[in-house]
């Protein structure tokens, strides 16, 4: 800030006056009582006093009624010009603050009471804004005390402290100013860089910048785009996932439906198969039963024939018996008749009773015989049945034995075949190993060759590069000019040549000497010496320059062309020389053509180097695969060694692997070997599976056989036991009927006899008669029986004849029947049936199952349609690619987030650094005194020739004393002059820090001349950065310092008196 102009009217004896000031050193001088101090007071009043302040009464011109008026024009630190105008009056004071950009045209910015508030905002001197309660008197602060001190209290600054200021603005302004003053250049550099980095990213209020050039902007846009993309892809992907889920659901349902349908169909098929098997079995069973029936019929027939024969024989026997019985009966009838007579006697009675007892005994015996016979027949039947069972068991055992033998044979054959194939596989594997060994060995050889080639290429690449470098070095060592330089030289030479050509106008001189004298002649640079004959004209011709030097007399030099052309040629020549000399000197050439040739040579060398480099690069590129070759070679070697290791176990004693390999065919087809091995292994595997299954079956069969044999032995033992107990069981069975018939008959006879006897007993005579009658009746009956027996015999014979007639037919029928085959077929059908699972629940109602299967088919078709629809939807949504895109989008988003986070962290770090530096600086700057101690103390030391040391300056710029002889002295202990000088130095330091003006009104009155000189020099020095305004009545004192502006106030101020 500096003061441009002060105007006063009606101020304490000054009627009117205006003083223009300048930057730098201003000296305002005038005699005493002119009003210099009034001018300073007016200045203070303009800045500090409200227009209506009663304190302004001190300004009142005692010679005038008008209120005092002051106008001060000043320029602030931003270059803006302000003008404060005040008319001081307790009742009608007025104030205006005008602003201007150019210093000439002003606009009113504030008026009245606002002026002082606005003014303090601009000045920031620590003066309280008007209206507040405060101290009385002229407002003051540390700054006003420094800049505008009262003439009578120049030392006031030494008793002042910022803590006394009514407002913080002065302290803040000084803090800023002193901070800048005290700042280390390195620190400033660092702070500037940090601030610049922070400003890149943040606004002054700490928000992220969003405009162009903001580091966030591109990243934020990118992240938004990535997020939008990710959202869109996620949406599509979710849609795809939904479709996929549906496809999976439908596929699952479809799989389930198909499985269910297949299960139903399999059940149906299984049941159909079972039904078919059952039918087949039934049919076979039927055929077998029919055949068995046929054979049975034959046997029955044979038996019937035998029976018929037996019966015939029996009937014949019976007839004979009947006939004999009849004869006997006849006899008995005769006897009975004879006896009747006898019976009528007592003796007869006794005998009858005895006979009755005998008959009764006979009946009981016969009944016992009948029971015993029945038991024997039963036992015999059991023995027969057991025999049949044992026979069937024996046949079954034979069948199982035959099957078992067959299976064992097959098993042995399979084992033999497996052994053969295993041998073959081993041999083929050996061949394959040999093949692989050969392949690996060949690969190893090929790769070793490739490695050698690659090494050679690498060597060539290195060599080529070295040669190229050497050629480039050689080219560089030639120092050949480049094309531009050559062009410049060509132009310079052409200019020189053309300029010289302009001088080639043709010169002819005739020399006639009066006395022969040695003459040096230079024709166009060709110098020679001659002595022309006296009196004879000698003619010289030159193109552009001719010089004739008459030894010791004169030298005549004639050049073609005007002076300008000569100068032009000289200049062109000089330019050519200047341009060409260093090049010729550098290259060793002497002509342009040589330079051209040199350049061509250098270019040739570079071209050759380039070509070599290109070849070397190509070789290097081709050699780049060396690591890969090394790796592949290591792999190939390991492979070869592995196969060699395998083969080492197969070689003979003393034989090497290579010798072993050489024994094999050179052209082993690995694929064919592999196929053969695979085929053999498949066969082997199949046979092993078969053998395992067969072994299980054999075990089963063997166990079954053992069981059957055990059962047969048990049955045979039973048979043997029973047969032993009933050796004639066959005869018993054969004669069972007959015997029973006999016994029955005998019993009947005994019954009859018994009856007879009893009848005899009941009525011996009647009995006898009755017996006789009975016998007669019996006789009749026997005769009838005999007749019947004759009839039966006839019938039996007829039946026998019939049966014997049927027999050949039955035999013929039975001949065509193979009962074993039919049995085997039936057994096979039974086995086939038993191999099938039992009828499942599906079989319970096949129609319902079939309907269920059809329903399943329909459901499957519906699901397939839905699946196709979902798949179609998937085709539209993008399917798998969306997953990839989603992954890409996620990666992009993550990457951007990371970059953003990285940027954020980086700028947060700059921000933190900036904040921390500011805090540290603020803390350092809080002690304002420390910033001024050094400059002030140094000046005081300089002023006092080192007598005084460091000034004691507190944090609030409160000066308390100064170091003297190692201890601090209070100011009161110093001389007035020294106090004045220290105060001035401190004020100067404050003004310097603020970069403002400093008013000195006839001060340093107690200072000696030496210090006064020093002080004036100091003022001149500080006036480089501070406006110094000295008001003095001794302007000549300042002449030596050559002030920037010297003003004679007596010419500008008019006194009112």
């Amino acid at each position: 800030m500096w003061i441009r102009r002060i105007e006063v009217r009606h101020c304490a004896g000054i009627a009117e006056g205006a003083v223009d000031l300048q930057r730098g050193f201003n000296v305002l001088h005038g005699p005493n009582e002119l009003g210099k101090s009034t001018l300073v007071t007016a200045l203070r009043a303009a800045f500090l006093l409200p227009a209506r302040s009663s304190l302004a009464s001190g300004l009142q011109d005692w010679n005038a009624q008008e209120p005092p008026e002051v106008s001060v024009t000043f320029e602030d630190d931003d270059g803006r010009v302000w003008r404060v105008r005040k008319i001081f009056s307790a009742s009608g004071g007025k104030a205006f603050l005008d602003a201007s950009r150019d210093g000439e045209h002003f606009d009113t910015d504030a008026r009245g009471r606002e002026v002082d508030g606005k003014l303090q905002e601009i000045l920031r001197w620590g003066i309280e804004a008007p209206g507040g309660r405060g101290r009385r008197g002229m407002p003051s602060s540390l700054i006003t005390t420094a800049l505008l001190p009262d003439q009578g209290d120049v030392e006031a600054i030494l008793g002042r402290s910022l803590a006394d200021d009514a407002d913080e603005s002065g302290r803040d302004r000084l803090t800023e100013a002193l901070h800048a003053l005290a700042e280390d250049p390195r620190l400033k550099q660092i702070v500037d860089v940090v601030q610049a980095r922070v400003d890149e990213a943040f606004t002054p209020t700490g928000r992220k910048r969003g405009g162009r050039g903001s580091p966030w902007r591109g990243l934020v846009d990118e992240r938004r785009r990535a997020e939008d993309w990710e959202r869109e892809v996620r949406r599509q992907s979710d849609e795809t996932a939904r479709v996929r889920t549906r496809i999976e659901e439908v596929s699952g349902q479809l799989r389930h439906g198909r499985a269910e349908r297949d299960r139903l169909r399999e059940g149906i098929a299984r049941n159909d198969a079972r039904v078919a098997a059952e039918m087949a079995f039934d049919e076979a069973e039927e055929q077998f039963v029919a055949a068995e029936a046929t054979i049975g019929q034959l046997r029955t027939n044979e038996k019937a024939v035998a029976d018929a024969n037996d019966r015939l024989r029996s009937l014949a026997t019976k007839r004979k018996e009947f006939a004999e019985t009849l004869a006997d009966t006849d006899t008995r009838v005769e006897t009975a008749r004879a006896n009747l007579h006898e019976l009528e006697s007592d003796d007869a009675e006794q005998r009858r009773r005895l006979r009755e007892q005998e008959r009764e005994n006979a009946r009981l015996e016969l009944q016992q015989q009948l029971a015993a016979h029945a038991r024997r027949v039963e036992q015999a039947a059991e023995i027969r049945d057991l025999g049949t069972v044992i026979e069937a068991g024996a046949r079954d055992i034979e069948r199982v034995e035959a099957k078992l033998a067959e299976k064992r044979d097959l098993l042995e054959k399979a084992a033999a075949a497996n052994a053969r194939d295993e041998e073959k596989i081993e041999a083929l594997r050996l061949e394959r190993r040999v093949g692989r060994y050969r392949t690996a060995a060949a690969s190893t050889d090929a790769l070793e060759k490739q490695r050698a080639d690659t090494l050679e290429l690498a060597r060539r690449a290195t060599e080529g590069e070295a040669q190229a470098a050497a050629l480039r070095d050689e080219a560089n060592s030639l120092n050949a000019p480049d094309e531009a330089e050559l062009d410049r030289l060509r132009t310079a030479e052409e200019d020189a040549r053309l300029a010289a050509a302009k001088l080639s106008v043709g010169l002819t001189a005739q020399l006639t000497l009066e006395t022969a004298i040695e003459t040096a002649v230079d024709v166009d640079g060709d110098a020679r010496t001659l002595t022309p004959e006296a009196g004879t004209a000698t003619e010289f011709e030159a193109e552009r320059e001719l010089a004739i030097e008459l030894s010791g007399v004169a030298t005549l030099r004639v050049r073609g062309g005007g002076r300008d052309l000569v100068e032009e040629a000289a200049e062109a020549g000089a330019r050519w020389k200047a341009a060409s000399s260093p090049v010729f000197s550098r290259t060793g050439c002497s002509t342009l053509d040589e330079l051209v040739a040199l350049r061509q040579r250098a270019e040739g060398l570079r071209s050759e180097a380039h070509e070599l480099s290109r070849e070397a690069e190509a070789a290097g590129l081709r050699a780049e695969g060396r690591n890969d070759i090394e790796r592949r070679l290591a792999t190939a070697r390991a492979e070869r060694d592995r196969h060699a290791g395998d083969l080492a176990t197969r070689r003979d004693e003393g034989q090497t692997v290579e010798e072993l390999v050489a024994t094999f065919d050179a052209a082993l087809d690995q694929a064919a070997l592999g196929n053969d091995i695979e085929n053999l292994q498949e066969g082997l595997q199949e046979r092993r599976s078969l053998a395992e299954r067969m072994a299980v079956e054999i075990d089963g069969d063997a166990r079954e056989l053992e069981d059957k044999r055990a059962r047969r032995e048990e049955q045979e033992a039973q048979l043997a036991g029973r047969s032993a107990a009933l050796e004639d069981w066959k005869a018993v069975l054969e004669r069972a009927e007959e015997e029973r018939g006999r016994l029955d008959r005998e019993l009947d006879a005994v019954h009859a006899q018994l009856g007879e006897l009893r009848a005899e007993i009941a009525d011996e005579v009647g009995e006898a008669r009755s017996t006789l009658n009975g016998l007669t009746e019996t006789q009749t009956q026997q005769q009838t029986a005999l007749e019947q027996a004759d009839g039966a015999l006839g019938k039996a014979r007829t039946e026998l004849a019939r049966l014997e007639g049927e027999t050949p037919i039955l035999i013929e029928n039975a001949k065509s029947l193979d009962l074993d085959a039919l049995r085997a077929a039936r057994d096979e059908a039974r086995e086939a049936l038993s191999a099938l699972p039992p009828l499942g629940p599906e079989g319970a109602d096949t129609a319902a199952t079939r309907e269920e299967a059809e329903l399943a088919d329909r459901r499957i078709r519906e699901l397939e349609a839905e699946l196709r629809k979902a798949e179609g939807a998937l085709e539209q949504t993008g399917g798998q690619q969306l997953d990839e895109q989603r992954e890409q989008a996620r990666e992009a988003s993550d990457a951007l987030a990371r970059r953003e986070q990285e940027l954020e962290l980086d700028y947060q770090a700059w921000q933190l650094l900036q904040q921390t530096l500011s805090e540290a600086e603020r803390e350092g700057a809080a002690h304002l005194g420390s910033a001024l101690v050094q400059p002030v103390s140094q000046r005081i030391a300089s002023l006092t020739a080192g007598r005084y040391g460091e000034l004691a300056l507190g944090p609030q710029l409160d000066a308390t004393g100064i170091e003297l002889a190692g201890s601090e002295r209070e100011f009161g202990a110093l001389s007035v002059g020294t106090r004045e000088q220290i105060a001035l130095v401190l004020r100067i330091a404050i003004a310097e820090a603020l970069g403002t003006f400093l008013v000195l009104d006839d001060q340093l009155t107690q200072t000696d001349d030496t210090r006064m000189d020093w002080t004036r020099r100091l003022l001149a020095e500080v006036a480089q950065g501070v406006q110094v305004i000295v008001l003095t009545c001794h302007p000549l004192d300042y002449e030596a310092e050559s002030p920037d502006h010297v003003v004679d106030l007596s010419a500008l101020l008019s006194r009112s008196d």
Binding site: D184, R186, L187, Q189, I190, V193, V194, R197, A226, W229, T240, R244, I247, E248, S251, G252, G625, D628, D669, A671, A672, G674, N675, E678, E871, L874, E875, Q876, T877, G878, G879, Q880, Q881, Q888, A889, E891, A892, D894, A895, R898, R899, E902, L905, D906, Q908, A909, W910, L912, L913, T916, L917, E919, A920, E921, E923, G924
Partner: protein, 378 residues
Amino acid sequence: MALTLLHTADWHLGRRFPAFEHEQEQELTRARLDAVGRILDLAESRNVDAVLCAGDLFDEPSPDESWWGGALREFTRRDWTRPVILLPGNHDPLTPNSLYDASHQFRAGLPAYVRVVDRKGWELSLGDNAVVIANPCMSRAGQTDLAASLPEREEGDDRIRIGLAHGSTFDMDGHQANFPIARGAALDRGLDYLAIGDTHAFREVEPDAAAPTVYPGAPEATNFGERDTGNVALVFFPRDRRRRAMVRPEPVGRWTWREETCTSVPALRALLTDPQLRRTVLRLVLDMEVPMAEYDEAERLIGELSGSMAASPRVGVLTVNREQFRLAADAPIEFGANLPEAVRSTVARLRARAETEPEVAGRALHHLYRLVKETEAA
């Protein structure tokens, strides 16, 4: 040999790498186009009879002209008669708006030797003894087995039959593969070789089968963690058709995708000596807590790796994860002499702050360290 083929797939031209910065993304997308040139050069140098491209040659069905234009230039600058067969895959399916459509400039501009599989049951004879049969993808997703639906070998046809399809052989039960390819499809269709695409790794699907089914993989990797990429398959068919075709991977990729975790500055220093870095996509994870001097060196080394306005990057494409990169704030920091008081105070404050905010305070300390060193040097 009766026939030699070059089998490639999954070029993914035009694929975006949005996780990387713009310049890095461009470098990676350009690398894919460069690989196409190398593949065709290889086909020429090996004098193969045909080039089979088994789908996903473009990352989308209608890529930007810069991608199909580049591919078209690679094709048109060659004066070949050897057929190059382009199969639409699930990324670039044959749809009405795709670049394989007859009306598209790409398709229209293809030279005669480049054939596009543009219908089901597409067929091309390679001389009298071999035939290629192919089915294209006609949508982005589908459940059709495009190999299983190739026509069967007819009775008496004893030519070498090569199938060409795109899809996934991943056949886990219940898993929905996109365009699934069932195992055994080659033998089932009477093929001598089934050329397929989709998986980015080189893989012979059924190594023991009589007819090989092969994924050649992507010629350049597309992400971290992909293995066995960067190849094409060279397929040699013996004259005796009963013998199995021989398949060999042939490297064409230039770029390596690599994830590296450095836990010390020497490890980071050692990383810089790797000559392959220029062609590497490096995801560098810094997992270390180091004193300031090492922290600063690590930052300098990362600067070297990533390059600057003045120096080329040492790594082709670099991303750095610093989440676990920490300054050991309690270790001594050598700031040098004559440190301004405010800076000294700032250091003390930041070190105290690092106890609760290690990341931000650590970085702030490093910024300050750098600035102090720079001002010292100045």
